[in-house]
């Protein structure tokens, strides 16, 4: 699974993306956040406030509960502020 990060999330984690093999028990977006947050403090800090996170799976907006099944790219970012 390609993980990509933007804006404040990208800065908190320190990389703009990474290719990771997800454990078998990581089934949803929320599972993925939990798994990364357990791994180290940068992820934990970046994902601390779940209300301030938005997600896109294969470039489609999804929510925390969405299943990752078969997707290639998960993007994690703050609420958008363009326009």
């Amino acid at each position: 699974m390609l993980l990509v990060y933007f804006a404040r999330v990208r800065e908190a984690i320190g990389v703009d993306g990474e290719d990771r093999v997800l454990p078998a028990n990581v089934l949803t977006v929320a599972d993925c956040l939990d798994w990364l947050a357990d791994e180290n403090a940068n992820y934990a800090a970046a994902f601390a406030n779940r209300d301030k996170l938005r997600f896109a799976l294969d470039q489609q907006m999804v929510w925390e509960g969405t299943a990752l099944e078969g997707a290639h790219e998960l993007a994690i970012f703050p609420p958008v502020t363009g326009g």
């Binding site: 933007f6 990208r10 896109a56 970012f77 958008v80 363009g82």
Partner: protein
């Protein structure tokens, strides 16, 4: 006539809107969002999600065209550094009658603000830079279009 563009260079909004006036419709509406000097801001930097940005904007335009049978639509968004006073976004719509053009224009900018993957960082004269916080009022406006 549909034009969707993401660009890292300043664009000529008037030239981009001009073709909308020649489609045989009676109404053209536009919205231009400009980088503001908001408490010492010198430039706004726009990060985006290149793999998703154009598809996201095109999906919004498709929605608007279907909902208001537009004759034409222009949507241009800057990325990278935008100096204060320069346009960040341009929305232009052409329709037979004014209600369609005006509503589609408001719809596009409201939805873009909450759905298109752009993030603004404000750069100040003192060298500091801060991410712009999303506004709840923007989510409310966008939600009204989905409810309506």
């Amino acid at each position: 006539m549909i034009r969707v563009e993401v660009t890292d260079a300043a664009f000529d909004g008037a030239a981009a809107l001009a073709p909308l006036g020649s489609l045989g419709g009676g109404a053209v509406a536009s919205f231009t969002g400009i980088a503001r000097d908001d408490g010492g801001v010198t430039a706004i930097e726009l990060e985006h999600y290149p793999a998703m940005t154009e598809a996201s904007l095109s999906a919004l335009v498709d929605d608007a065209v279907a909902r208001w049978s537009l004759l034409g639509c222009v949507l241009i968004h800057r990325v990278g550094k935008v100096a204060v006073g320069e346009a960040i976004v341009l929305v232009g719509t052409a329709a037979s009658h004014r209600a369609e053009a005006l509503e589609a224009c408001a719809f596009l900018i409201d939805r873009l603000k909450t759905e298109a993957p752009f993030w603004k960082k404000e750069h100040r004269a003192d060298g500091t830079a801060t991410w712009v916080e999303a506004k709840t009022s923007d989510e409310d406006r966008a939600a009204e279009w989905l409810a309506g």
